[in-house]
Symmetry: C2
Subunit: 557 residues, 2 copies
């Protein structure tokens, strides 16, 4: 190419243009998936906003069919709303918002989801999205598009409405999308949202005009998520270099104490002991790349101290159990919360799992047969797509279910639920549907699942036992009739009386047998379902991790 | 969150910042993968530049170990170079370059690859990349970083060098990456690049200081890629609306004739016949979304005419065969180019496949056993990662290899090569390692593979036949010795003479048998390896597609 030709074809492009041409990166591809993703993005924003404001969410979702592959979506919440001067940028500019890389447990992360949906609406229908935002008092109405060449909001119409409303209401049209009965549609998404967010009330009207109401199952208000300072174990040299710009006069130690989680004199001393300079004396502007590199290496080698773990907001065992009993009505249910821990040395995580068996558990196939259903959640937001690429799926598949007496689990009426809570979910892409296979996360999920699997295994083994007993009783009773007949002929005693007596004997005998067995089984139950080598290995690891934190009682608060 | 808090935490972020935090989207994650991706991005740019300038590429690649997980990468080409005033933006700004969404067969597509690597270098080492760019005469030397907050180039040092050089030379350091013996390392990447680019000479020095030279296997210069105009079958309503801004005064028909591929009066007439208005009279600025929507629907319904197919640059059968024989030295080789066709109605594609058996074919395992090796290419660039998510893999797995007499192909010494050429490769992500499962593409690959599989099946069946024959001959000959011994005792004739005569008879007899069988097998060879139902179905489809184009002899040139 000649220089002129090069210059002529040289172009700069905006991030909105980029995502318009790479919609798949935002999960906005496929007719069904696109529509579900739109609902997910809007609803996540609503739940996040309510949670940060300490409001019990009431969310109304409607999908109205307008024509072939043409739908209108309404999502209306009772959240805190967006300040008037920020509505345009918050929803009409990609990579803008309050969430970009804050260390806080929210469903959204990058300020890209809802604006991506508004972009999809406009490129498939040519129409702006209609937004109402109220922060108390009279709300603002806005018709909003994105100027893709500039990645800036383009406000087509803006006015104050004449009634009081607090919250965000969004109305967008979409073409080239489709709604169908599927385990990946909006209904399934909202059902799972209700399971993991028992504090929310969600009203959903589907395109066939069926309305589903998921009432909140308990009146508790979940904790308000807190933003945490970064943990020094997670810092990179490049980030330190960037921080040096805004904090040039501070010493490295001063910056650590001010900007990082739980750094005190003890930690500074530990780091210094591994260095040939004193971070309490070197200012940020005087430190070069090599020095920062040494500091990061020293931090790596210091003993880990746990980050603040009280910022995590799990569903909580009792609420998860309550909502699963209400929505799935299982025959057996095991719910389990692990203690919070960390991955990458400094990001707090917490794993919750549930295993539900029988009732409405499992995925129902077209022929009404039941199949295993895996419900994945990250910060209580359902993950419906990309299961194959997800660390949660990997953890589930790595378990030897047979060892817990669970054969062919693919075809059991079984729902397995896993929720990962963290201030930093390691998604594999901006589409936020799969979690990276971080070792610590996979291991935590495995441990929780193995414990739950053992409970289910015991339940099923007892159930089988009971069935055998009932069968035995049936055989005995039948036999009793024959015996009674014989005795009646020999002794001429009343047949009915004889049968009653024999039944009585059998029942008592079986009861005693059962009691003995129960006693025995309480002794051997742990042995009955083998605590396998695999799990023992994990337990070993677990103890190690626990020690790891507990050993460090002297970190700075 | 209060309004104040909302405003305080509201942030706008640049695309460089976004990709810095989402490196995995560019394939820049994993220690091995990151390093291979860096080489791939720089080498692709070099090959593209040479090709557009009609230069036979000579590329020097070096990976120098500098410390633990710390390497320096050199890529030096003899291409046309980048004009001095554009070097900074071309390599130091994401989403900038000459390739963003032009319809031209290049390896790069979005102006994001090389700048992503320069970003990776700077965030892992704090150092700028060193670039030399010469367009003839004295070249420019530049030390380049990216200002991530603004997504703009930050030139640390710039000077003219005092010698003549034409081309681009890039030197970048990386930390947190690793090189290892692997079928996904730079050596494998460059070997495959050499196979699919027989016109290029590549010299590679690995971190252990071994040098590999892949000499060009033929002196031909491949065709210069031509940019094509978009095909109206690929246009969306949103794109028409965008075009209306720059072409407001043109009629819709006028715009179609000027800006789209091969649109003439016949096509305009066909479109108009399905509309209630005349696109030769309505100007772009007067058309609204609904009208554009009608136009796009009408285009969908008009007969397809093929796009220009002469813009595709395949490897070509003879060159692919030559380079595979040279590099893999297989016992059997079948190479096959399909005729160009289209997907999505308007994007030209062409599929080439090769099946190599024996010799150095297949992937060699640690225990020296051989396994099936699938080599995927898009526009002659190797795809080493994300095989599981790729349409090429899907096509390969969908073939019932057993039907061609190929049992357990996973464990055969077999290399399957597939190259997709197109002006628009539908990658699943900006990491450019997997091709979307577009139906037409998967089908074309299947057809080509089935034909090649049949040839290999015949070869192996003949080979097995020959082995049986040789075994038979061996048995006969052994037997002949026994017979000769007996005859010698009975007749007292010379034993050696008797053996020679008997061998002669056996050899002649077997030769005649073989000739007869060969004649027969030529008659039945097609029947021997069944042309299965699966393939017949495909053939039916193929005919349909051929008709689809041939029926339309009267399109406008």
């Amino acid at each position: 190419m000649s220089e002129d030709k090069f210059s002529a074809s040289f172009k700069e492009s905006s991030v909105a243009e980029f995502f318009k041409r790479n919609r798949q990166m935002l999960g906005l591809y496929g007719k069904l998936r696109s529509l579900t993703t739109v609902i997910a993005e809007y609803v996540c924003n609503s739940l996040d906003a309510c949670e940060e404001a300490g409001i019990l969410p009431e969310i109304i979702v409607k999908i109205i069919p307008l024509g072939e592959e043409h739908y209108e979506v309404h999502v209306i919440d009772n959240g805190p709303g967006i300040p008037k001067d920020k509505v345009g940028k918050a929803l009409g500019k990609l990579l803008a918002g309050t969430k970009f890389h804050r260390l806080i447990q929210t469903r959204g992360q990058q300020g890209i989801g809802a604006s991506g949906c508004i972009l999809l609406s406009q490129v498939t229908t040519g129409k702006p999205s209609k937004i109402i935002s109220g922060t108390g008092g009279k709300p603002l109405y806005m018709e909003l598009e994105i100027d893709t060449a500039k990645n800036e909001p383009k406000i087509k119409l803006q006015k104050e409405l004449d009634y009081d409303y607090r919250g965000i209401a969004v109305k967008s049209e979409f073409k080239e999308v489709n709604y169908q009965n599927s385990s990946q549609n909006a209904l399934e998404y909202l059902k799972r949202t209700a399971i993991a967010n028992p504090h929310a009330t969600i009203k959903y009207t589907d395109p066939f005009n069926n309305t589903y109401i998921f009432e909140r199952s308990s009146g508790y208000i979940p904790k308000t998520p807190k933003e945490i300072k970064p943990h020094i174990k997670c810092i990179t040299v490049d980030e330190l270099k960037t921080l040096a710009k805004d904090h040039s006069k501070k010493t490295i130690a001063g910056l650590f104490k001010q900007e990082f989680d739980r750094v005190g004199d003890k930690v500074i001393k530990d780091i210094n002991s591994l260095l040939d300079f004193d971070i309490s004396k070197v200012t940020m502007s005087k430190a070069n790349w090599e020095m920062f590199e040494k500091v990061v290496k020293a931090i790596d080698k210091t003993k880990t101290f746990a980050p603040r773990l009280d910022t995590l907001i799990p569903i909580e065992e009792k609420y998860l159990e309550e909502s699963l009993r209400k929505i799935i009505k299982p025959e057996f249910l095991s719910v389990l919360s692990r203690k919070p821990t960390v991955y990458h040395g400094g990001y707090p995580i917490q794993i919750e799992v549930a295993i539900a068996y029988g009732g409405d558990a499992g995925q129902t196939l077209a022929n009404n047969e039941k199949k295993l259903e895996l419900m994945r959640f990250a910060n209580r937001a359902p993950l419906l797509f990309d299961a194959g690429a997800c660390g949660i799926t990997k953890a589930v598949n790595s378990i030897e279910w047979r060892r817990y007496g669970l054969k062919d689990i693919e075809n059991l009426p079984l729902s397995i639920l896993v929720n990962l809570s963290s201030v930093h979910i390691p998604y594999t892409s901006a589409g936020k549907q799969a979690i990276a296979e971080e070792e610590e996360i996979v291991e935590e999920i495995r441990k929780a699942l193995m414990t739950a699997a053992r409970s289910l295994g015991l339940h099923l083994s007892k159930k089988r036992h009971l069935e055998t007993k009932m069968k035995k009783r049936g055989i005995f009773l039948n036999y009793a009739k024959e015996v009674a007949e014989g005795l009646h002929l020999l002794t001429d005693r009343n047949k009915k009386e004889l049968i009653d007596k024999l039944e009585d004997i059998i029942t008592k005998k079986l009861q005693i047998e059962e009691m003995n067995e129960q006693e025995e089984s309480e002794d051997i139950s742990e042995g009955e379902i083998p605590e396998d080598a695999e799990e023992k290995k994990s337990k070993g690891k677990k103890d190690k991790i626990t020690d790891y934190f507990e050993a460090d009682g002297d970190h700075d608060e």
